[in-house]
Structure formats: structure tokens, C-alpha cells
């Protein structure tokens, strides 16, 4: 069987102010009809850019070389008019950001019918009828009403369904999906993947799936290309690659999946206790009146020395808000007691003496470091507050020590944050917390912005630091695998409330609530979800 899509010796280069970047270097791959192929790689692997190049969608500073053939027709160098006869009809794409991929200024219906009118010459009325059919096909609730809705009135998952409907309108032979579920919650991700699997079975198009997530690859694809730094490292059927990886990089990627468990701590004294923590936000509405939004609704925790409490939940569950409320960084109700002293309701200056022992690490390694300060200044800022008696030389020594503790070199302290990679920055942020020798560190999604392989190193670092300094963690994440690898006890949150809490093994092996079961299934047993969906089709 001849492949319908064949890339041969593709090169993609970008002209940047800092010189040429060779993003894709001589890569070849192919897709057979009806096949599901995954391209997996971390950021910077060129996995998206190679598809953009083939589809003529590179940004203006990019150049593509090589050959990209669709049914034996060369796509590179094809006139825009000819290319437009294929794009959006025979080859369609869905993208990572459902929030921005649709034009915010036009109704869903108008956007759906646009390619149909363009490619098939349908009348607006016929196209509208077909658009309604497609919305029903992708199982959007209230499809008639959604036709007249604007993108901002839909949820992320619904928008991605609209994108899929649009992708199916021309009865495509190949659907290129570029990280279509990365921006979505894990349960929505499972739904979207299930929908795609179902539709593929029904309609028989080939799917080229670009992702960084090995779990999806394993559950969803027939064949996989592993890419790194613009080149394919390894290629083969999914079952073979996962069972018997040949290339060192593939092995490393597979090994980077979070694993291991935290050693349980013997019964230790309670360090931090919170009861009935409630956070409400008021939003002003128009001229008069406001409505209240309860972000955290009555949470209790008990953190013992050396222990880690994992808090999981999807976006909007209030988990990050709770972390900040614990450290008295936002106004909240309820009581929080730290080392026998009540800290809830303390004002900024009264709270200051506790801050040394209560530290925080944030999600965004790009945003949490002050861009105009050197690394040394950043990590010693806390010392200025809490140990003002230290001399400059002492602070330097402490900074060097802290950098070493997080696996960086001491001489890096004169550099600026923008000179470091994401993983290094997160290490710097951790160094800023541990330099104060805190008791409790609240980690707010510390690994979410990082690639899996980097994530694995940061997890290892967090484990080492906990052992070395006897730290207690509150670990907040949407990533169940990471939470399972690091926590003693787990709290599952949804819409500000606790759904379930308990020891890590009990939660993951015998979840009590339906929501927890759904979460765990979507995260760890994607196969089952997809098989079930395929059976329904």
C-alpha cells in the first residue's frame, strides 16, 4: 500500500536575530492510508515545525527544503491556489490552543461553513445544514445554539470539538493533530481522544498525531516516530517501541515517566494544620452589585514533619488558591496553625517572621524570577529579609551552597535568569526557597511547564532535598503521575471542594468517588477509555 503522505529529507531553517536555527534536519517519515501515526518529542524537537513546513504554514522567517508528498503530489513549492485545494479539504489540521485557533470575532457557524463554501461551492444554506450535522457528529450539546455562538462562549473542550468538526467537513484523507489535547484537562483530553478514535473508525482517515505525551502515544497510535533536535531517533510500531526501545533517547524518555513512591514517614508531630479554609473572590458586576465566587470551600489539612501532601485537581478546582491561602498570601477564612502558632489572619508584618519557614515554588519558571536581577540576587533576597546580619560575603557563600544543593554551579550566580533553560530556572526557584532552610515548601505545579525528561530530574531533586533537609511539602499538581510518585497522602479537589482524600496508595488503587475514578482512568488507563469509545462507534 502506497503511503498517502510522505516526507523525505525535510529541512526547516529559521532566520532569527541570533542567527540561523536549524529546526528540522533531514527528517523523513510517511503515513499510510487509515493509519494512526504519532510523532513524539520534547520541546525543540521540531515535531510541529516539520508539519507546518509541509503545509506551507511556516512563519515568514522560516524556510523549508526537501520533499513533502501527498498522494504523489509535491506540496513544497506548490502554488498557493493549488495548495489551497488540498488544505482544509483533503488534509486538515487541528491545533494545540483551542482558545485562539478559532477567530474570536465570528460565530462558530460562520467559521465552519467558510471552508465548505470555499472548497465545495456549497450554498450558505446547504453548508449551514452540513455544519449542524458535523456538530452533532462531534457530539456537542445543543448544536443548533452553538452554531450561533461565538468561540468565547464555549469551553476549551467544546472549542476543540468545533475544530474537529471543521477538520471533518471536507471528508479528509489525512488529519494532522498538533498537540490537540495539551491545553485541556485530563478528563477532557480523554473525551477528545475518544472522539477522535471513534470518528477515525467511522470515517477511515489517517491521523498524524503530534504530541509530547507518551501515554497518549501508547493508547492512541499504531506507529510512532521519536524526534529529538530536528531528527528522528527511532521509528516503529508502538507496541515494539514501548516494549523494546532501541535508541538511548527513547529509553531515557520512557524511563522519565514518573515512577517510584515516597518512603513513608514514621508518625511525626503535626507541623501545619488548617481547618475550614475558605477563599471567596468578589467580582464587581456592572455599576452595582457583585457576585461571589467560592474558590476554596472549607478545606482541612494536617501536614506532619517530613511528609508530602499532594493536591490534585483540574483547572478551576481551587488547588493553587488553596496553596496561596495556606501561606496567607490571599485573604481567607478558617484557621491555619503553624508550629503551634496561629498564622491565619496575621497581617504582612506579623506574618513575616513565619515566612522563613514557609516557602513556595511557582509553576512558571519564566515568570517567577525577576528578569533584571542576577541569580545571586534572586536567591539571596530572602536572606536580606530574614538574616539581615549576614555580610555580603556570607550571602555569597550561602548562595553558592544553595546552587550546589540544586545541582547548579556556584559561578552561575552572576548570570541573569533569561540565560537559563526552563529546568535550570526551576532549580534556581527551588534554591531561592531552600536557602532559608524552611520547614514547609508549597510547590505549585513546579514541574508542569517542563519536558518529561527535565521533569524527572526536578522530581529527583525534590526527593533528595526532602531527605537532606527534612522538608515537608504541599505538592499541588494536575499531573496524577507526579503526585503519585511524590506524596504520602492525596487530596482530590473539584470546584473548590474536597472530593476525596487519603493515603496515596488507597486513592490510586481503590478510589471511592466516581470523579477520582474518572481522573485516574483518564490519566493511567487511557487505553480502556479509548477501547470503550471505539466499541461504541
Amino acid at each position: 500500500m502506497a503511503p498517502i503522505f510522505k516526507l523525505t529529507d525535510m529541512h526547516v531553517r529559521f532566520d532569527t536575530p541570533d542567527g540561523e536555527v536549524h529546526a528540522v534536519c533531514g527528517t523523513s517519515m510517511h503515513v499510510d492510508p487509515g493509519e494512526t501515526v504519532a510523532v513524539v518529542g520534547e520541546s525543540g524537537s521540531g515535531k510541529s515545525q516539520i508539519m507546518m513546513a509541509a503545509m506551507g504554514l511556516l512563519s515568514s522567517n522560516g524556510r523549508a527544503q526537501g520533499s513533502a508528498r501527498f498522494r504523489n503530489q509535491e506540496l513544497l513549492g506548490l502554488s498557493p491556489r493549488k495548495l489551497n485545494q488540498l488544505r482544509g479539504k483533503k488534509i486538515t489540521m487541528i491545533f494545540q490552543e483551542p482558545m485562539t485557533s478559532l477567530d474570536p470575532l465570528y460565530r462558530i457557524g460562520d467559521q465552519l461553513i467558510e471552508p465548505m463554501i470555499e472548497h465545495e461551492g456549497l450554498s450558505a444554506r446547504r453548508a449551514r445544514a452540513r455544519a449542524l450535522e458535523l456538530l452533532k457528529l462531534v457530539m456537542i450539546p445543543e448544536p443548533e445554539r452553538k452554531l450561533r455562538a461565538y468561540p468565547h462562549e464555549l469551553s476549551g473542550g467544546q472549542r476543540q470539538r468545533v475544530m474537529i468538526a471543521m477538520a471533518l467537513s471536507g471528508d479528509p484523507d489525512l488529519l494532522i493533530a498538533d498537540e490537540p489535547t495539551t491545553a485541556l484537562d485530563v478528563t477532557i483530553q480523554a473525551e477528545i481522544l475518544a472522539l477522535l478514535a471513534q470518528l477515525q473508525k467511522k470515517l477511515g482517515m489517517a491521523i498524524l498525531f503530534i504530541t509530547h505525551d507518551l501515554t497518549i502515544v501508547e493508547a492512541f497510535a499504531d506507529r510512532v516516530y521519536v524526534m529529538r533536535k530536528g531528527a528522528v531517533m527511532e521509528e516503529g510500531p508502538v507496541t515494539r517501541i514501548f516494549a523494546d526501545p532501541q535508541h538511548a533517547y527513547t529509553k531515557m524518555l520512557l524511563a522519565a515517566e514518573p515512577h517510584g513512591r515516597k518512603d513513608p514517614v514514621p508518625s511525626a508531630p503535626v507541623l501545619l494544620q488548617a481547618d475550614g479554609v475558605r477563599v471567596t473572590f468578589t467580582r464587581s458586576k456592572g455599576l452595582f452589585g457583585h457576585d461571589e465566587l467560592c474558590a476554596v470551600d472549607g478545606l482541612d489539612i494536617q501536614l506532619r514533619e517530613g511528609q508530602t501532601i499532594g493536591i490534585v485537581g483540574e483547572s478551576g478546582s481551587g488547588k493553587s488558591t488553596f496553596g496561596r491561602a495556606l501561606l496567607q498570601m490571599l485573604p481567607s477564612e478558617g484557621t491555619v496553625v503553624f508550629q503551634g502558632a496561629r498564622i491565619s489572619g496575621l497581617d504582612r508584618s506579623a506574618m513575616r517572621k513565619h515566612r522563613k519557614a514557609l516557602q513556595m515554588v511557582f509553576q512558571d519558571p519564566y515568570g517567577s524570577l525577576s528578569p533584571r536581577m542576577t541569580v545571586g540576587e534572586i536567591i539571596t533576597e530572602g536572606l536580606l529579609v530574614h538574616q539581615p546580619e549576614l555580610s555580603g560575603r556570607d550571602r555569597e557563600a550561602r548562595a553558592a551552597e544553595a546552587l550546589k544543593a540544586v545541582g547548579l554551579e556556584a559561578n552561575m550566580r552572576n548570570r541573569f535568569p533569561h540565560e537559563f533553560s526552563g529546568g535550570q530556572r526551576q532549580r534556581i526557584a527551588i534554591a531561592r526557597a531552600v536557602i532559608l532552610r524552611p520547614k514547609v515548601v508549597v510547590l505549585d505545579e513546579p514541574t508542569s511547564a517542563l519536558d518529561r525528561s527535565v521533569q524527572a530530574q526536578v522530581i529527583e531533586l525534590l526527593r533528595d532535598l526532602q531527605r537532606e533537609f527534612g522538608l515537608s511539602y504541599i505538592f499541588i499538581s494536575h499531573d496524577l503521575a507526579v503526585v503519585r510518585a511524590l506524596s504520602d497522602t492525596v487530596i482530590v479537589m473539584k470546584e473548590g471542594k474536597v472530593v476525596e482524600q487519603g493515603p496515596v496508595d488507597r486513592i490510586f488503587d481503590a478510589p471511592q468517588s466516581a470523579y477520582t475514578r474518572e481522573l485516574i482512568e483518564a490519566a493511567f488507563r487511557l487505553n480502556t477509555v479509548l477501547d470503550r469509545a471505539a466499541a461504541r462507534a
Binding site: 532569527t16 536575530p17 536555527v21 517572621k353 513556595m360 511557582f362 512558571d364 540576587e377 533553560s421 531561592r432
Partner: protein
């Protein structure tokens, strides 16, 4: 994000020497030819404004009644072919028979004769004219009835010509540059001071205070600007310095909005929250985290505010509301030039070109700074 910007470099230490964002911005600015030319032009203007009026050979207020509206010229005034006639008229009262008059570079030779013996003091008639100096008898004939007088010709140079009152336009342009730059700096500093303090306070304190402070700004915005300025003129009369402090006090509104917006967004950035989690005091957060990061937009806005203020000053002067005689300003000169443009286009050209070039330089420098400090490719 797309893949191309964030190449995974986790284990690779940065290879190039460490640079702060300021240093990087400066390097970027240095690569911008237009901005660097503008910077050079601006430095030239500043030097011209400071030392220019001191080294020109005319005072900006000095009137030369005999040279009214003479066009711009590299040659001195009076022109060579006019000098003999001027010498004749200077010697008219000496009652001599004038022979040949020759002009040779900076000296004039006048042959004269009389039926009587000529008193050597006759040369004083030449000296009495502003044009000639150091007059002397070069040769005297044996009978003393004919002499050859020599005198140095003091020719005046008006490189930009003179205005309708016979004042040197170059000197007047230079003093205008000084006035414009001073006023630009003064009013901008005032606007900067008020705007940054007001905006930072509103943004940092937030809540109701912020709401109220910004309402005040909104209301001030809806007052007609020209009314404001004219009212200021009415109040402060002819005191230019006071008036431009007042103009600065009007121009702070934009600055306040920019700084407030910056402060608000910075306040929600994670690095500020991180500092709060460390227990850093408000003063420390402002000093180390907020102010250094608002500096970029403030500098950009400032370089664009200076030309705005200079333009405003010229505009008011153009209307006759600004700088008063004998001091002058580019606006006044342009206004005079516009009135005289039919016969004497040079009177419009030089001040207009001077102002335009200055504004160009400031705008290009501002644009260059914006590109350097605020690159989109982070």
C-alpha cells in the same frame, strides 16, 4: 508556544558572556543604525544648544538695521560688489574726489584726490562706518593732494540670513534650540515625576484608591487640552519656565496610565508573589521588582514625550503665546517665516528644518529604544 524558541538546553551552560537585559538592549540599540544616527544628531543639538549661542559672532537680539532680511549666504555681508558704493557713501562728507576703489579680500583700497592738501585724519570717515576698521593712509603723493587709503573691511556673516528686524537667524535658531531642549527636559521631568509617582501609587495600592485616582485621570482627560494650556498661559502669563512646569503637570496623565498598567500587571507576576512569599517588604518589592521593570516603558515613553513637549512649545510660540521677545523659539521663527515665505523662503526653511530634524531624531531614537528594550521575541 512554538518549538523553535525554546530549544532544550537543560544541561548546557550558556556559552556567551553573561549580559543583563540592559546590556542586551544597548547592544541591540547599537545595531540600529537609524537610532545611532539620531543619537549623534541629538548630541549635536545638545552641544549646539549649550555652546552654540556663546560662539556665534552675533548676539541673538542684536539688530543690524542695514541688513534687514538678507538671504542666507556663506559669503559675508555686504557683498564685494556693494562695498565700493558703501565706501563712497561713507566718504561722501569728506569732499574728496574718489578715484579707483578696489576690494582685495579683507581690505579696501581707495584712491582719492583733492585740490587741497588732504588731512590724514580723513580716514576717520571710514572708521565711522561699522563696516570699516583700522583705516590708514597707505600712500601719499608728493604734493599731498592725492592719497591711497586702506581699511580693513569687517564683513558680517549671516549663514542663515537675517530676519525682518535684521537679526542673525543662525544665532536666533541656536538660542531657540537651547530653549526647546530646556523646555523639553523640564516639562518631561515634571510629567515623569508626577506620572510615575501617581501611577505607581494607584497601581500598587490598588482597590478603591486606584479606582478613585483613575477616575480623576479620566475626568482630566476629557477636559479639552488646548483649553488647559491656554488657561495656563493666562495664569502664568509670560513666565516660560513656570508655564512649562505647568505643561509638564498636564502631560503626566499618559505617564500615570502607563505606569499604573505596568505596576498592576507586574504585581500579579509570579516573581512579585515570590518576593511576597519571602516576606519582602513593600519598599523592597517596589525597589527591586517593580521599578526596574517599569523603567523600560517609562524610558520609551519619555523619549517620545520630549518631542511632544517641544512641539507643544513651538506650537504655542507659533500662536504667539509662548516665549517672548527678544528671546525666541523655533515656533516663533517658523511663524515669522510663514509670514515672509513669499519673498524670503529661507526664513521658513531654516527654523522648520531645524525643528523637523530635532523631532525626527527624538522620534527615531524613541522607536529604537522601544525595539531594543521591548523585543517581542522573549
Amino acid at each position: 508556544m512554538t518549538d523553535r524558541t525554546a530549544l532544550s538546553l537543560d544541561q548546557e551552560a550558556p556559552a556567551r558572556p553573561s549580559r543583563s537585559l540592559w546590556a542586551t538592549a544597548f547592544l541591540r540599540l547599537k545595531r540600529n543604525t537609524l537610532a545611532m544616527i539620531s543619537l549623534a544628531v541629538l548630541i549635536f543639538y545638545i552641544l549646539a544648544g549649550i555652546i552654540g549661542p556663546e560662539i556665534t559672532n552675533h548676539h541673538y537680539a542684536e539688530v543690524y538695521p542695514e541688513f534687514v532680511k538678507v538671504p542666507a549666504s556663506l559669503e559675508g555681508y555686504p557683498k564685494s560688489d556693494e562695498i565700493p558704493a558703501l565706501a563712497e557713501s561713507a566718504l561722501a562728507r569728506a569732499r574728496l574726489d574718489l578715484g579707483q576703489i578696489t576690494v582685495d579680500g579683507g581690505t579696501i583700497r581707495v584712491e582719492a584726490s583733492s585740490s587741497r592738501e588732504i588731512d590724514p585724519r580723513v580716514t576717520r570717515y571710514l572708521d565711522r562706518s561699522d563696516l570699516f576698521a583700522n583705516s590708514r593712509i597707505a600712500e601719499t603723493s608728493a604734493d599731498g593732494q592725492s592719497v591711497v587709503m586702506e581699511a580693513d573691511v569687517e564683513r558680517l556673516h549671516f549663514y542663515f540670513g537675517t530676519d525682518a528686524n535684521g537679526r542673525d537667524l543662525l544665532a536666533r535658531t541656536l538660542i531657540s534650540v537651547r530653549v526647546s531642549l530646556m523646555i523639553g527636559a523640564l516639562a518631561t521631568s515634571v510629567a515623569l515625576l508626577i506620572g510615575v509617582l501617581y501611577g505607581a501609587t494607584a497601581g500598587f495600592v490598588g482597590g478603591r484608591v486606584d479606582n478613585f485616582m483613575m477616575r480623576v485621570v479620566d475626568v482630566l482627560y476629557s477636559l479639552p487640552f488646548i483649553f488647559f494650556v491656554i488657561l495656563l498661559v493666562v495664569f502664568f502669563g509670560r513666565n516660560v519656565v513656570l508655564m512649562f512646569i505647568a505643561v509638564g503637570a498636564v502631560e503626566w496623565l499618559d505617564m500615570a496610565r502607563i505606569v499604573r498598567g505596568q505596576t498592576l500587571s507586574l504585581k500579579n507576576r509570579e516573581f512579585v508573589q515570590a518576593a511576597e512569599a519571602l516576606g519582602v517588604r513593600s519598599a523592597g518589592i517596589l525597589r527591586r521588582h517593580i521599578i526596574p521593570n517599569t523603567l523600560g516603558p517609562v524610558i520609551i515613553y519619555m523619549t517620545l514625550l520630549i518631542p511632544k513637549v517641544i512641539l507643544l512649545e513651538s506650537f504655542l510660540s507659533f500662536l504667539g503665546l509662548g516665549v517672548q521677545e527678544p528671546l525666541t523659539s523655533l515656533g516663533v521663527l517658523i511663524s515669522e517665516g510663514a509670514k515672509n515665505m513669499r519673498g524670503d523662503a529661507y526664513m521658513l526653511f531654516f527654523p522648520a528644518a531645524t525643528l523637523t530634524l530635532l523631532l525626527f531624531a527624538l522620534n527615531f531614537l524613541g522607536d529604537g529604544l522601544r525595539d531594543a528594550l521591548d523585543p517581542k521575541d522573549r
